[in-house]
Symmetry: C2
Subunit: 453 residues, 2 copies
C-alpha cells in the first residue's frame, strides 16, 4: 500500500453519481418502469455487445464513426448505440415466439464515443417504448405511445411539457401540393432552420431547391402556422380533397389527438405542430417531439414516431411500429443542473437503529422486527460516540433514529427520535413502526422532480 | 427489403430472454433490490467501461486474459469484469463525499470473455452487497451481510439453502498450530480436493508440502469435521489458549452466528463449516459460501467474506469491508433449467381491454379509469376477430379480459371475463377493478422461485 497508488478516476464523458443523487436517478428509473408496466408493456433486456454486422446493418452516417467497436478473436463486436436496432434484431430473431402487437419497454445503457461535451455522455440510459405490429398496426397505437410518455413525465413530477405532434403524411401531402417533389429532405432541412435564420432566408433556400417563391411561401404558411389544434385543422381543411396523402394524414392526426384525450392525456401536454419532421426516411405517420416548457432550449426530451419497416434488414416481413424514447441520463443531468431534483427522497433508509449497549444481537432483532413491520432500517453497529452516530444519521438524511439503550431494553421499548422535529419518546416497536410509516407516506407523495417547474 | 437480409443472431455466450422469462428475471432483480434497500443499503451504478489501468491495477491472473479490452484513441479501455474493483475505485475516488460505514448494493452487468460453456455467460448480472468501514469495521457487519443475503434468497422463494461460514483466522491459527507455515495457500488447495480425491490422497499431498503426517491428520480432523455448530465450537475449544489468532477467530465466528440469529436468520439456513476458505490472500475474517441444498453440485450460489484492504491500489488508507455476491444470471439459468421458476407471474398486465366498437377513444378512457384504480391494463386496439383477440390474451396469460361492446357502453359498464375460471359478467368499473385487484393480490403471494425446491 502507499507506494504504487493509481489515481482513482473514470473515463471522461461517463456519468457517475454520489449515493444521494443515485437514489433519485433510480427512483426516476423505477417510476418510468412502473408507468410502462401499468400499460402492459413487457420489459426487455438485450445484450450490450452485439455483432457489428447486426448493429451496423444499416451502415454509414455519423453513427458508425461514434460506436465503440473492437475485435475479439474472429468476431467483430460493437457496443449498442441505441435500443432500436437491438429491438429490430430481437423481434426478427424471436418472431415466432412473440405475440403481436408486441409492446415492450427497455431502459438500458447505450454507448456513443462522441466528442465529450457538457451534458452529453458516452454512456447513457435510453428509455424506449415501442409497439410493433405484424403486417399492420392500428392508429390507436400512435395515440397510446405519447399518452404513456405523458403519464410517465407527469409521474416523475414534470408537468410543464408539451408533446408536439405532426404526421409525416401531412408533410408529404403539402410537399406534393407545392411541387417540392424529390427534394423534400432538403426542403425540410431548410425549414428546420426557420427559428435560427428567419423566414426570408428559408424562402431563399427553398427557392434554390427549385420551388417557386409562391409555393415556398404557401408551404411555410402551413408549416409554421401557430394556432390551436382546431385552428390548425381548420387551415388544413382549406386543402381538403386536393391530395389523398394529405387527407389521410389529417384524418390520422385528428384521430390521434381525439384518442389521446380518451387516454387522459391533458390538453396542455400536447399540441399539433406542423413543423415537426424528425428525419424524413424512417418515420411514416405520426411524429413526436417534446418541449420542456420552462426551458425549450434544451431540445426535445422525448421523441419518436410511427414507422412502417422496423426490421427489414433482418426479416422479410413488414413490421410496422410506433415508438418514443427518453434520454434519461441527459434529462437527469439537466434537471440536476437546474436544482429541480427532489433530493429529500435520498435517505437510504426510513430509520437508523443505534445500539447503545454491547447487546448487538438484540439490536439486530429489533431492526428485524421493524423491517417485518414494513420499515426500511439501517443498523449502525460501530462503536463510536453517540454524537458521531447522530452525525451519521444527519449526513444520510435518515428521518428517524431508533435508540436502544439499557432503559429501553428494560422497558421492552425503543426510543424514537424524529430527526426533523427533534422530538424523542419511548414506544413499543409496533407503535414506533406506525410513526415511521406515517412519516414515510407523507414524504412518499413527493415526486422525483420538483413540481411547479 | 428481402434481398440483403442479415441473419438476426446474438453473440454466443450471451443470455437473452423471451418476454415471459424476462418478466421473472426482472422480478427477481426487483425483489433483491427491495431486500437490499430494506436494510438501508444505497444502490450504486458505475460505468461499464473504465480505464484498463484502474480495472487491472491488481494485474495478472486469469482475469486479465478474459477481459474485453480495447483502445479508443489514446485510451486503453476495459469492460468491468466484476463490481468489486469498481467499488474500490468509487470509494477511493469519492472518499470525502461518503459516510462510513458505507453500505451499498449494486446489481449490474459484468463481462468476461471466457470460453463459452453451458450455464456460463460472457455478460452476466452480478448482485453485490458490501459494507465498507473507514479504518475499522465492527464484527456485526460480518453477521449482517449473510443475514441480508439469507433474507434475499428467501424473498425470491429459495428456502433450501445453507450459508456455510468459516473465519480465516481459524484457518490461519490451525495452520500455525500444525506447522503449515508459509505453504498455507498450497495446503488449502490440497484440502479443497478432499471431496474429489479422498482423505488419503490429501494427506499425501500435504505431507509433500513438508507437514508431518500427524499434523496433517490433526489438521484434516478439524477442517473436515462434520457436526452441529455447538459441536464444532466444542472441538475448537480443545485448542483454546494455544494460539491467539485461532482464539480470535473462534470468538468472532461465535459472535457472528449469535448476531445472525438476532437478525432473524433461520438456523437451517446457516452453518459453521471449517473447510470453507475462499482464496487465501484477500479475505481476512469471516468467509461465506452458499450451498443450494437440492443440488449442491451447482456450486456456491452466494459467496463473499471480510477483507481488510478494499482499495489499497487507489488510496493510502485502510478501508476494511465485508461483502457478498450472487451471480444472478447463472442462478436464473439453473433455476430455469430445473423448471423452478414461477412463470405464473409472467403476464405483462392484470387485464386486457378489448374494444368491440369503433369508439377507441372511449375504450382508451376505460383503460385509463382502470389504471387510476391501480390495475395494470393493456389495451388491444387492433381490428381483429374476437377469437383472435382472446387468443392474444391467452398467449400472454393475462388473467382478466375487459370487453367493451355496445351493450356495455349503453349500460355504462364493462364485461369482465376471468380467463382462469371462464366466468364472465357485467360490472361498473370500480367493481371490475376490485375483482381484478383481489385476483392480483392472490397471485401476488407467489414467489419468483417455486418453493419446496
Amino acid at each position: 500500500m502507499g507506494n504504487n497508488i493509481i489515481k482513482p478516476s473514470i473515463l471522461s464523458g461517463f456519468m457517475e453519481l454520489l449515493p444521494d443523487e443515485q437514489r433519485v436517478f433510480d427512483d426516476m428509473k423505477r417510476v418510468l418502469e412502473e408507468v410502462f408496466a401499468s400499460y402492459g408493456f413487457y420489459g426487455l433486456d438485450t445484450p450490450v455487445l452485439e455483432r457489428s454486422s447486426v448493429l451496423l446493418a444499416k451502415g454509414g452516417g455519423e453513427t458508425e464513426k461514434q460506436v465503440y467497436r473492437f475485435d475479439r478473436g474472429d468476431t467483430d463486436i460493437t457496443m449498442r448505440y441505441d435500443l432500436t436496432v437491438p429491438l429490430a434484431r430481437y423481434v426478427a430473431m424471436h418472431y415466432s415466439d412473440l405475440s403481436f402487437p408486441f409492446k415492450r419497454y427497455q431502459i438500458g445503457k447505450v454507448y456513443r464515443g462522441e466528442r465529450s461535451q457538457k451534458g452529453r455522455f458516452r454512456e447513457f440510459y435510453q428509455c424506449d417504448i415501442d409497439i410493433i405490429g405484424d403486417g399492420s398496426l392500428g392508429i390507436i397505437n400512435e395515440a397510446e405511445c405519447p399518452s404513456v410518455m405523458s403519464s410517465a413525465l407527469r409521474a416523475l413530477g414534470i408537468e410543464e411539457f408539451c408533446i408536439r405532434l405532426n404526421n409525416r403524411k401531412i408533410l408529404n401531402g403539402l410537399f406534393e401540393i407545392y411541387g417540392v417533389g424529390e427534394r423534400s429532405m432538403e426542403v425540410m432541412r431548410e425549414i428546420d432552420k426557420y427559428e435560427k435564420i428567419g423566414r426570408d432566408n428559408v424562402i431563399a433556400g427553398i427557392k434554390e431547391l427549385g420551388v417557386s417563391e409562391e409555393n415556398a411561401n404557401a408551404l411555410l404558411d402551413f408549416v409554421t402556422f401557430d394556432g390551436s389544434d382546431a385552428e390548425v385543422f381548420a387551415k388544413l381543411n382549406t386543402l381538403a380533397g386536393k391530395n389523398e396523402t394529405l387527407d389521410n394524414g389529417v384524418s390520422d392526426l385528428k384521430q390521434v389527438t381525439e384518442i389521446m384525450k380518451g387516454f387522459g392525456c391533458q390538453e396542455k401536454n400536447f399540441k399539433v405542430d406542423l413543423s415537426i419532421a424528425r428525419g424524413l426516411d424512417y418515420y411514416t405517420g405520426t411524429v413526436f417531439e417534446t418541449c420542456y416548457l420552462p426551458d425549450p432550449s434544451i431540445g426535445s426530451i422525448c421523441s419518436g414516431g410511427r414507422y412502417d419497416d422496423l426490421a427489414g434488414y433482418f426479416i422479410d416481413r413488414p413490421l410496422p411500429g410506433v415508438g418514443m424514447s427518453i434520454g434519461l441520463t441527459r434529462l437527469f443531468y439537466i434537471l440536476n443542473e437546474k436544482n429541480l431534483l427532489n433530493k429529500s427522497v435520498s435517505a437510504p433508509a426510513d430509520a437508523l437503529v443505534l445500539p447503545m449497549t454491547d447487546d448487538i444481537a438484540g439490536a439486530a432483532k429489533i431492526a428485524s422486527d421493524l423491517r417485518n413491520e414494513g420499515v426500511s432500517v439501517q443498523l449502525y453497529g460501530e462503536q463510536k460516540k453517540f454524537k458521531k452516530k447522530m452525525e451519521y444519521a444527519n449526513k444520510l438524511s435518515i428521518p428517524y433514529v431508533v435508540i436502544i439503550g439499557e432503559d429501553e431494553i428494560k422497558a421492552g421499548k425503543v426510543s424514537l427520535k424524529d430527526m426533523v422535529k427533534g422530538e424523542q419518546d419511548m414506544y413499543a416497536i409496533p407503535e414506533a413502526a406506525d410513526i415511521i410509516r406515517s412519516g414515510k407516506s407523507e414524504r412518499g407523495t413527493e415526486k422525483c422532480v420538483i413540481s411547479g417547474n
